[in-house]
């Protein structure tokens, strides 16, 4: 079983290179290996996350993340490299400038990155075990699948 319910089959989401880039961003924000996790579940999360976003929001988030990937190193660190070309120290310095920026919209972007990273990394069962949280007890249904709720609640002694 993977860390996440599988993204719905045949549903269009971000292509693999975009998922990989977003994954690099999120693991820089909250490195899973520091908490006993790995990067693979983060990439899985990104796929499922993108699949469930409304198209306009998916496009807006991708646009914002692309800008961050391509331009933030130059604007915030004066480095002519993409985010992927930075060392982990440089990535953290850049992300810190975003998270603690004096400009509110930039700070909100930092908060959103931390939120997505939290969902991705702390949602990983391996990390949850490391933090002392119980793992899921069984496989989750695919996103978009519906269950027969009336069967679930029958016979509970109400």
């Amino acid at each position: 079983m993977g860390a996440w319910p599988p993204a719905p089959a045949g549903f269009r989401a971000w292509p693999a290179p975009v998922r990989a880039r977003v994954s690099v961003l999120l693991t820089a924000v909250l490195p899973p290996e520091e908490l006993g996790g790995t990067t693979d579940p983060v990439e899985d999360f990104v796929g499922g996350f993108a699949a469930t976003l409304p198209p306009a929001r998916r496009a807006a988030i991708r646009f914002g993340l692309d800008l961050l990937w391509l331009l933030a190193p130059l604007v915030l660190l004066g480095r002519t490299a993409t985010f992927g070309g930075l060392t982990q120290d440089e990535r953290e310095r850049l992300l810190e400038r975003i998270a603690y920026s004096k400009l509110y919209p930039i700070r909100v972007l930092g908060l959103m990155l931390k939120s997505f990273a939290g969902l991705a990394v702390i949602g990983d069962p391996a990390v949850r075990r490391g933090l002392g949280i119980d793992p899921p007890t069984g496989p989750l249904p695919p996103l978009g699948a519906h269950v027969r709720w009336d069967e679930d609640i029958e016979g509970l002694g109400r």
Binding site: L30, K114, L119, G144, D150
Partner: protein, 503 residues
């Protein structure tokens, strides 16, 4: 009992009849529907979200957000700052993902809420208490038991007691709560009594039909303003796949409870016009405070929300334990990268507390069925002053409870304050952009008033100028409450249902 009909069960357009059509299956819709069915009416209920059950109620927050929350949990009110809003979008509505807190509105709050004498006459407090008595039984209102409270709830109780501030364990809609601490992901023990576990099945046993993943696009009003049915289409809300269309004719009337963010768009799409539609939006925005203790707390072990104090109710603030899922809380911890990971690793020593403010500010909502809403809201300076003072008071409780550090979550202050530094909170900026706020209690947008000039709905929660159309969510509420609103929404919905039956 009939089965819930979803997009997966229908392949062609459907047209059906009912006495009453109820739009929305949360607190307001389910309570009104149940009362109508109990009186022998034929009711069809429509819910935009999917039915969910145990297999959906995992430990992780993201699948829950994707499946059970409106806009994946990313809905926000935007003004000078951005305030997250959380609403459920499943059969059972927000009652499936809230913390099941039951509050009989205290008299002072009721007096304030019902400032319009005509509204007060429609909803006398003694009538509301009668409905609460019924719901107490149906929804199993139970005080949080100490054995399942967990340290996350008992620590602030101890701190408040040392300060001489009155607090109490929360009354919640629970049957056999085991303190799983996962209300917001859906209760894994089915102990939380959402409307999907009691009112809706009870009504279905008596013949109510439920259509889920059914997006109502408009209420059909005839030339005289009489509601004669609803129309829309089945839509998978997670994947946004459209299905067949539906039309449900209502022989006696339509009851709307889609939530106060969705209602303006639905009424507007139905041809209803009123200059105040979408205005007077109010909320109880809140902010969190994270205290750190020497010993482990493991706040996720125990009731999600089990202790509260309304000691400062006169100031319009309420303190609550709110065990925010760790994935969400992590974003509020200081630092990025390895520093953030080090702070997250301390999470087992943290508490997760919050303050709610009955803000006087009013905003506005523009929405369309099936689309994200545009919500504008900016707290007033006095709202922020009360929020800041409340955070300081909660920090005092933390210190009395033995916290060694407090994370105030206010930009411009150090991310972590030592015990002797908490007074610095009082020097924090009142700029709402310096706070991370969340609003879960939403009101207004179709305010009831004694005259058509002053409100969208009449004092019996009927949109002015319409017939056989009622609203039973928090949209017609004249004001916000200052306490958790689910019980009030349910009681007013049942009162509206009584009036429908009486008519």
């Amino acid at each position: 009992m009939t089965e819930i009909v979803t997009i997966e069960h229908v392949s062609t357009d459907i047209v059906e009849d009912a006495d009453y059509v109820v739009v929305g299956s949360g607190a307001g819709g389910a309570s009104a529907a149940w009362r109508l069915v109990e009186a022998g009416c034929d009711v069809a209920m429509l819910e935009e979200g999917p039915p969910v059950g145990l297999p959906d109620f995992g430990t992780q927050m993201f699948p829950a957000m994707a499946k059970m929350y409106r806009d994946n949990g990313m809905e926000a009110a935007v003004g000078r700052s951005m305030i997250s809003m959380l609403q459920g979008r499943v059969v059972g509505g927000t009652t499936v993902v809230n913390s099941a807190i039951a509050w009989r509105v205290p008299e002072p709050a009721y007096e304030r809420w019902s400032f319009d004498p005509a509204v007060r006459a429609s909803f006398p407090l003694e009538d509301l208490h009668k409905h609460w008595d019924v719901l107490d039984e149906m929804m199993c209102v139970t005080p949080t038991a100490l054995p399942i409270a967990g340290r996350g709830n008992t620590l602030p109780a101890q701190g408040a007691e040392r300060l001489g501030w009155k607090g109490k364990v929360m009354n919640r809609f629970t049957r056999g709560c085991l303190g799983a601490g996962r209300c917001q992901q859906g209760c894994p023990n089915l102990a939380k009594q959402s409307t999907a576990l009691n009112l809706i099945p009870a009504a279905m046993r008596k013949g109510m039909r439920v259509y889920a993943t059914a997006l109502v696009e408009r209420v059909e009003l005839d030339a005289t303003g009489r509601a004669i049915g609803v129309a829309g289409r089945f839509r998978d809300p997670t994947l946004r796949r459209d299905g067949p269309r539906f039309r449900i004719r209502a022989n006696k009337g339509v009851v709307l409870a889609p939530g106060c963010i969705q209602l303006p768009g639905l009424l507007h799409a139905s041809g209803f016009r009123h200059r105040l539609l979408g205005e007077h939006f109010q909320a109880h925005p809140g902010a969190g405070l994270v205290p750190f203790f020497t010993d482990e707390v493991k706040y996720w072990e125990g009731a999600t929300q089990g202790w509260e104090t309304d000691h400062f109710a006169d100031e319009g603030v309420k303190f609550e334990v709110v065990n925010v899922p760790l994935e969400i809380n992590a974003a509020r911890f200081p630092g990025v990268g390895r520093e953030l990971a080090r702070n997250v690793a301390r999470m087992s020593h943290a508490g997760s507390w919050g303050v709610l403010v009955r803000m006087e500010a009013e905003g506005s909502v523009r929405s369309r069925p099936g689309r994200s809403a545009r919500v504008k809201f900016t707290p007033l300076e006095d709202d922020m002053r009360r929020l800041r003072r409340a955070l300081h008071n909660f920090a005092k409780i933390a210190v009395e409870a033995g916290a060694v550090q407090v994370m105030p979550g206010i930009y411009g202050l150090p991310p972590l304050l030592e015990r002797d530094e908490i007074d610095r909170i009082l020097d924090a900026s009142l700029d709402p952009r310096h706070y991370t706020m969340v609003a879960t209690h939403l009101f207004g947008t179709a305010r009831a008033a004694a005259s058509e000039d002053a409100g969208v709905c009449d004092p019996q929660f009927r949109p002015w100028g319409t017939r056989n159309l009622w609203v039973t969510d928090s949209s017609p509420f004249p004001r916000n409450l200052g306490v958790n609103p689910q019980f009030m929404i349910q009681a007013t919905a049942m009162q509206v249902a009584e009036k429908i039956l009486g008519a």
